[in-house]
């Protein structure tokens, strides 16, 4: 939709407030991008807009939010570094504008102010958790699970030291049925989960199917207490963090869980945090285990 300068001037108030229909917003912006004339009305009207928010009385958020923000930023940086091991030449952390622009995915609200800082799409994706807890515990008597055997296969292939803990489980699993072959295949991605704390014996394995179905098996984790949960998160190359789901651990230190509709982006960094409760929407607790699901 080509626009004349007069039409753009007419639409300026709606444009600076982001109150035009999307087609008009885009058409006005296209015009401004290519117009040889100046459009001072945009600055003059648009300059008012930031002050509308300033009419609000500041409100103090909960004190914990500060810690949460900082923890999320730290986790974001860490995720970028981890994922960046395979992709750092493509998307460096805190990339310069041109590179960062390439990572812009999508936004839902088209407002001029918002575009002042185009950003990657918001990162919170809630992958529905398959309610498997009862199933998990019902199956706990089976020492040999897909996970331990899958880990064994991985160990045989190349991933030995990462899955040290799972390897121990393998010794007890030799006589069990081999269901892992149904999980790991040429179209799955696997990640041994290594502890952040080198002194920890914790370990595990994650297997992601192309369908977005994720299997996670962990061992030697500290038991959760009260509302505590272990929360599984994944981070894509863009740095967007998605919450996958949570699980609890009893005194055995062992669990096997499955989740559905997990993002399947290349080079996903999966990490498990110990969180105070299952309601967190961003990583706040310490990272216990992590691994990279490389494409």
């Amino acid at each position: 939709m080509a626009m004349t300068c007069d039409r753009v001037r007419e639409l300026a108030p709606g444009f600076v407030l982001g109150a035009l229909d999307i087609e008009e917003m885009i058409a006005v912006q296209d015009h401004l991008d290519g117009c040889a004339e100046t459009h001072p009305e945009m600055d003059e009207l648009g300059g008012v807009v930031p002050y509308i928010a300033q009419s609000l009385t500041p409100v103090e958020p909960p004190a914990w939010l500060r810690e949460s923000v900082i923890a999320a930023a730290k986790a974001d940086s860490l995720a970028r570094r981890r994922v960046g091991k395979g992709a750092e030449h493509r998307i460096p952390a805190h990339a310069p504008a041109a590179a960062a622009a390439a990572t812009v995915a999508a936004t839902a609200v088209v407002t001029p102010e918002a575009s002042f800082a185009p950003e990657p799409a918001t990162g919170l994706e809630l992958a529905p958790v398959i309610p498997l807890r009862s199933r998990i515990w019902a199956r706990r008597g089976r020492i040999a699970t897909w996970a331990t055997r899958a880990a064994a296969a991985l160990l045989v292939v190349s991933l030995g030291s990462y899955a040290y803990v799972v390897q121990n489980d393998l010794k007890n699993a030799q006589h069990q049925a081999p269901p892992w072959v149904n999980v790991i295949g040429p179209e799955t991605r696997q990640a041994p989960l290594a502890p952040t704390n080198a002194a920890s014996k914790a370990g595990g394995l994650a297997v992601l199917q192309q369908t977005g179905h994720l299997y996670v098996a962990v061992n030697h984790l500290d038991a959760t207490a009260g509302d505590q949960v272990y929360m599984v998160w994944v981070t894509a190359e863009t740095g967007d963090v998605s919450r996958v789901g949570s699980f609890t651990i009893d005194s055995s230190g062992w669990a096997q869980v499955e989740f559905d509709r997990v993002p399947t982006s290349p080079n996903l960094w999966l990490f498990i945090c110990l969180e105070p409760n299952g309601g967190v929407t961003r990583p706040t607790g310490p990272i216990i285990l992590s691994g990279t699901l490389s494409a």
Partner: protein
């Protein structure tokens, strides 16, 4: 709900310069820069998120998401295009409205099926010095001078994220009337802000704060 004291705003150009330095720290990945930025603007960011979402949990998510957005994109902050506060609040507003729209549409946060934001929709903060001189009271006073219909049109667009067409449908006013109210309201608000500024700074407006209006 606890209402804290008025949030500190930059008091001078040198303060703005220190903000630029703060942003450079954030862009360099220095967590201390983000902490300082949060300490400076969290209350205003939360107030805006809460005003738009009207829900504490969602507002907390929005604030966290927004500061994380700043953390990731600080390198793209252009000092010449406005103050850090305006930049941050624009992000907060954007994310809050986005969250509300997604919630209304029963779409999970993070869904990326929406339209792509056109590039370079930039809006300068034309009076960075004015921003440093006008406290919330003065801005509130300026807004209160607007006729209610004009104020409503602006606030429905700014805080509720409604388009002119949606505002017309909600208020029952013809679309052309909504457009007129929005224009008159913005022009009037600008004049009011300039008037407030001249009270504080009789020496005159910044060079780019001319009264000229299209």
């Amino acid at each position: 709900m606890e209402v804290p004291p008025q949030m500190a705003v930059p008091e001078s150009l040198s303060e703005d310069q220190s903000e630029a330095e703060l942003m450079r720290q954030v862009a360099a990945g220095e967590i201390g820069g983000l902490e300082a930025l949060y300490d400076r603007y969290h209350a205003m960011a939360y107030a805006l998120a809460l005003r738009i979402t009207t829900e504490t949990g969602l507002a907390e998510d929005v604030v966290q998401d927004s500061f994380l957005g700043v953390w990731r994109n600080a390198g793209r902050y252009a000092e010449a295009r406005g103050t850090v506060r305006s930049w941050l609040l624009a992000i907060v507003r954007h994310r809050a409205i986005d969250a509300m729209r997604r919630q209304r549409a029963s779409v999970a946060l993070g869904d990326e099926s929406e339209e792509v934001l056109p590039a370079n929709l930039t809006l300068p903060d034309i009076w960075p010095e004015v921003a440093g001189r006008l406290d919330g009271e003065r801005v509130r006073a300026a807004i209160q001078t607007l006729p209610p219909a004009q104020r409503d049109a602006i606030e429905l667009a700014y805080f509720d994220g409604l388009t002119q067409r949606e505002i017309a449908a909600r208020t029952g006013a013809p679309l052309g009337t909504v457009k007129s109210r929005m224009r008159l309201g913005l022009v009037s608000l600008r004049e009011q802000l300039i008037g407030q500024y001249e009270e504080v700074m009789p020496s005159g407006l910044p060079a780019n704060g001319k009264r000229r209006m299209a």
